[in-house]
Symmetry: C2
Subunit: 211 residues, 2 copies
DNA sequence: ATACCAAATGAATGGGTATTCATTCATTGA
DNA sequence: TCAATGAATGAATACCCATTCATTTGGTAT
């Protein structure tokens, strides 16, 4: 007995709950990217995951909850990424701001499949309170963080701009660049987008972000 | 005879083709804003227009074509707006650029219902070639126009930025601000957005857009 | 081995949607 | 006033989709 940690020889057909849910969420991301949210059905997701239709209600109770969990997954992943960037970046406000801006174009975050999910949900969010709620707190927190960093830099450099304007503008610009990457990947790569975003910061805070 | 242009006394139940199509497109915009694209059905559009279900296939052959015509309507309206801005604005590149940037936050263009439509279609556009095509030419043309104006200003002012970066950045920022207006109208008005967008231009071209 | 349990399946169900088309109705010209 | 025309209707149709659940299957403890 007590060989509980033995590895299975054959690929297990039954997976632990969390693993299967993760698998389904990733299948949902692919389906939304490939088919769009309005054509994403239980069947397309199950097909993408290579599993049966019934499994979605087994794990998520409803299609709607699967979609909500998928959005949460993306939002949480994004939040974790900038939390980490804050921890690992340099101490100065400028370094932190640069690190945050870079997260938006990080390989892990700035994947077209995931961008497709962001925009799919934004497209529906006007009419769906739930979707807005899932994004709300994280986005509020993020903007506050950005604004704080901008305030510091403005004080240090004696710049004559409003922190709130810069933070909101930067956030908006990066979102818009995401759309370019999503829709016209031939004309806009993540690297170019990062460069454009940075050139904005150089323009507003020239002494902190020298060209 | 020859009184063909007489006005009808009673409200006509049968309207000219173009008028009815316009009415249906406007109903579609309202339905997308209210319900989202994925819940917009023949029934919701017909209900919004106060007409019967059959009328949509009568005028547009299919729901899909109605949606495409609706997107085209929004795109064309936007294009007309900046064409007009170019005609009526001052002659200097800076004036023209300011006029263009202002169009994005013009009352006619920057309505939440219409913004909802833009984002609804962007959300699906990754998976729908047709949607991308409808936007493509207009958007290309617009970016080219912006870039040209930036080039002029850069030459005049001897600025050390790339025209393409500024044009793309401005376009992206305005798109991102649209999202703020759409999703958090309490925190972002069209006027504030215009101000933020302008403060970007002031930052990049300080001698042409004095604060 | 055997029995048990939970995971997974997929056919069946019920509700909803786009599209069609025979019918109704408003308008116009004679 | 009376056809003739075509716009508009809405019930009928055929299809699709989320959800359910009886059944099967894989893993585990005995």
């Amino acid at each position: 007995m007590s060989e509980t940690l033995k590895k299975p020889r054959t690929r297990r057909r039954t997976a632990p709950r969390e693993e299967r849910q993760d698998q389904l969420i990733k299948a949902t991301i692919r389906s939304i990217a490939k088919n769009g949210l309005s054509v994403t059905t239980i069947a397309t997701v199950a097909g993408e995951a290579g599993l049966s239709q019934g499994i979605i209600n087994l794990h998520f109770q409803s299609k709607e909850r699967l979609l909500e969990e998928t959005l949460s997954y993306i939002v949480d992943e994004y939040r974790s990424a900038w939390y980490k960037a804050m921890r690992t970046s340099g101490d100065s406000a400028a370094e932190k701001l640069a690190a945050l801006a870079a997260v938006d174009f990080d390989k892990r975050i700035c994947q077209r499949n995931k961008l497709a999910v962001w925009f799919a949900f934004w497209g529906e969010s006007r009419s769906r309170l739930t979707y807005r709620k899932i994004c709300a707190e994280s986005s509020r927190e993020y903007k506050q963080l950005l604004t704080g960093l901008c305030e510091d830099i403005i004080k240090q450099g004696n710049y004559r701009v409003q922190a709130h304007h810069v933070a909101t503008g930067l956030l908006a610009m990066n979102g818009g660049l995401w759309l370019d990457i999503l829709i016209s990947p031939a004309e806009m790569s993540a690297e170019q987008a990062r460069e454009i975003s940075l050139s904005y910061l150089r323009g507003v805070f020239p002494r902190h972000f020298p060209g």
